[in-house]
Symmetry: none
Subunit: 242 residues, 2 copies
DNA sequence: TAACATATTAACCAAACATTAACAACAAAA
DNA sequence: TTTTGTTGTTAATGTTTGGTTAATATGTTA
């Protein structure tokens, strides 16, 4: 089973909910460690290596955010999912700033959680390339250097990219041929997800489309309500993911 | 209490342990039938319908595995939990092969058992859609990618699906060749089950039928008053997968 | 054959997206 | 210190998409 040996650190103070969720994840072939508060969570985090952390936000002794911050200090990569109470919408933002990969309102659909876990783990595993170290991308006949922020088409003069253009195109490239969720780009690049940042992002998509127009094998497609997809046609067979 | 009317078949040869466990489960609002060996267990199994079976592995006359196999022949769905002696780790595998949902080493923590029971029963009740996290489906000559929301017929241009079209087709695919209850789709996808959402769903069924028309091996049938059924004729010999 | 369930097409409205342009903030250059 | 340029946000406007409801069949069951 594909989830096997993926280690999850689950930090949840409600013992009932915690162990049920744990069982559910175990049934789905994850290797789960349960901690019942932030203190214990951090202890367990230090003692092992996890592929994913699921943190309840409201906990005694040490809340989810604080724990997340500590975890981040130790490890900048490990994906974090927050579980928050339905009401507190603001918390979401606060969570993202700490570098959460996702959040879920309680009560939530267990399937949704599974989906998010899968998506995150899959992404992380293919994101090695996205890791700050990588800054060169081949996009069809383009070459993107995201460190020097320019985009070159074949042998023509490089196009200078603004910081936002650059980050957005880079993120699209990381998700090449796959869905780049709108929400993700907004929270990661714009650091806020609201009506206006969303309009702003549309503007940048339009700018990028203009640049990419010269190569008709490259295209940015919209998936209504979900996000965008950078498609590159005639791409070699693809490494047959998984 | 939520456990009420959940029927458990408990097969355990040790009369002391058996009746204590039985009482414990009854205290937790389960409806428990106790059998003291595999023979008796199978007799009782045939006479009633259970939501869960808890089988001791080592028993005279008919051991737990043999019983489990017989039960599986009669019923492929009912969850089975094995109780095994602490030592025999190998048994675990053997148990899973019979289709056990879980196992517990004796002696075990009664609360752990309760938790497992809960988790299993909950899972079973929502497992039909077990693969809801999957997002690629083969439907006859079609290929559905429910993450990117498109449907491809052979090598033709992909058809873009709207969120509702996509979710509905996905649910049909999960229930392939089986009944997809109308009510389920309405509550899951439309989040409401009333006259209007029901009409709306009909509209979507019509849309999907139009898409699927190009392959005459694929068809959405209605089961009057019950729901719909996505039938795929001449299903290929099965990709041997799994 | 009434009552009800399903089928199909079309009309409509709201939300999401696309694109260009105006503008504000700020920095670099003259 | 003006001037010029770059960057990003907001506005204005138009287009597309998605979902519900309506209108009008046809089927199914008791």
């Amino acid at each position: 089973m594909e989830n096997e040996n993926k280690k999850i650190l689950l930090v949840e103070d409600d013992p009932n909910f915690g162990s049920i969720l744990k069982d559910y994840l175990i049934l789905n072939d994850f290797d789960v460690t349960l901690a019942k508060n932030g203190m214990e969570g951090f202890e367990k985090f230090k003692k092992d290596t996890f592929d994913l952390c699921i943190l309840d936000v409201m906990m005694p002794y040490k809340d989810g955010y604080t724990l997340a911050k500590e975890i981040r200090e130790k490890n900048k990569e490990v994906p974090i999912i927050f579980l928050t109470a339905k009401s507190m919408k603001d918390d979401v933002l606060k969570g993202y700033k700490v570098g959460a990969d996702d959040y879920l309102n309680k009560p939530f659909d267990s399937e949704v959680l599974l989906m998010k876990i899968k998506a995150i783990i899959q992404r992380k595993s293919s994101e090695v390339k996205a890791d700050a170290t990588k800054f060169e991308f081949i996009i069809g006949n383009f070459h993107l250097n995201s460190k020097l922020r320019f985009l070159t088409y074949k042998d023509t003069e490089p196009i200078k990219l603004s910081p936002k253009e650059n980050e957005l195109l880079k993120m699209l490239a990381v998700y090449e041929n796959d869905l780049m969720p709108r929400e993700l780009a907004l929270t990661k690049i714009w650091r806020d997800d609201n009506y206006f940042t969303s309009r702003s992002m549309d503007v940048y998509i339009a700018k990028l489309r203009k640049y990419l127009k010269m190569d008709d094998e490259v295209e940015i497609l919209n998936i209504h309500g979900e996000g965008f997809r950078l498609v590159v046609k005639n791409k070699p067979p693809a490494p047959a993911a998984e």
